[in-house]
């Protein structure tokens, strides 16, 4: 099973990035082979619709599960179309979150926000 998580830096000890669409990196982790890959999120520089682009990127990466703090409704629409499962990230490192996911301690992400669309002040 391929897991994908937004992350600030190229390290499993780094915390999960609080932004989904504008995270600088994603880490793609294969729970069976243990293979690890850090991928640049080009959606981060988008003028708009970063969530949609990031979701497209995740679909194209072949990931089946996403661990994230939050997700906007447009991005969720793309992810849901392919049936990608979303889990709510917990405070701690990416490694902690992977461990918690494996032991079934993460709960599904149920709140999907209406999007920040240039109002959050964290985008540019």
């Amino acid at each position: 099973m391929k897991l994908i998580i937004p992350v600030e830096t190229q390290s499993l000890n780094a915390p999960v990035c609080p932004s989904f669409g504008r995270t600088p990196l994603f880490v793609l982790f294969d729970t069976e082979s243990g293979k690890l890959e850090f991928l640049t999120n080009h959606a981060a520089e988008s003028e708009g619709g970063a969530g949609i682009k990031a979701a497209q990127f995740i679909v194209d990466s072949g990931a089946e599960t996403l661990i994230t703090y939050r997700c906007g409704e447009n991005a969720a629409q793309v992810l849901n179309a392919v049936g990608i499962k979303m889990y709510k990230a917990q405070d701690g490192s990416v490694e902690d979150n992977i461990a918690k996911f494996k032991s079934g301690e993460l709960s599904p992400l149920t709140e999907i926000h209406a999007g920040f669309h240039n109002h959050a002040g964290i985008q540019k």
Partner: protein, 278 residues
Amino acid sequence: MRVAVLSGKGGTGKTFVSVNLACAAEKAVYVDCDVEEPNGHLFLKPMISNRTPVTVTIPEVKANKCLGCKRCVDFCKFNALAYVLNQLMIFPEVCHSCGGCILLCPAKALIKSERKIGEIEEGQSGSVSTLTGCLNTGEESGVPIIKGLIQRLPDADTTIIDCPPGSACIVMESIRKADFCLLVAEPTLFGVHNLAMVYDLVKLFKKPFGVVLNKCLSGENPAEQFCKDNQIHVLAKIPFDEELGSLNSKGLIAVREDRLYQVLFKKLLEGITKEATS
């Protein structure tokens, strides 16, 4: 003559000044460009004779023609398209209507489609014809509605354009065809900051302009000082008058109720006409 009434923030009295100016003229057109919250109609209470929808162009996909090349997805700067499970998804609210994806599609699978974002109401209130732009709640930009309003401006009559607050794109669009810009200012330091914003804008657009000082009290008036310092012509001073507050709260128009304000706004209109034509 087209007069645009603007200010750097909401609540300074743009609608109050616009509505009263329109009513002080023998015959006038009042244009409400504050499309996010048009409120001139609360005072003018026009009889609506016509409503025209305003639409923007968005892409629509002919799924059987789509090759799945994702050229449109990669092209869109606003990421209004996604391609998953051999299907193109379109996000109309994200689309900025540039039409690029339609031009680019090698299979001609994308066609133009219209999406309604609001409407323009035409009406009549006594000697004042009204044009009101109404943007649907939740829409990103009112610019297409303002463009529709500006296209409908008559040539001959006295036209008063009630602008949105601030100095952003929607205000620029509203003043583009104006012959004169009237800046409404409050007598506070905050009011000066907001006056300076629109002052910079009208200078940039090289429009003739003047100021109305609203809500004037006795004592110091920082907005008046700003006008003095920058040699800006003050065309009228409106007092901070309890009666005005009372009339406004009832949705009444001062010019139609009070002889004093009829004189004040007639004089203001004369002053503007003189400045605009000199």
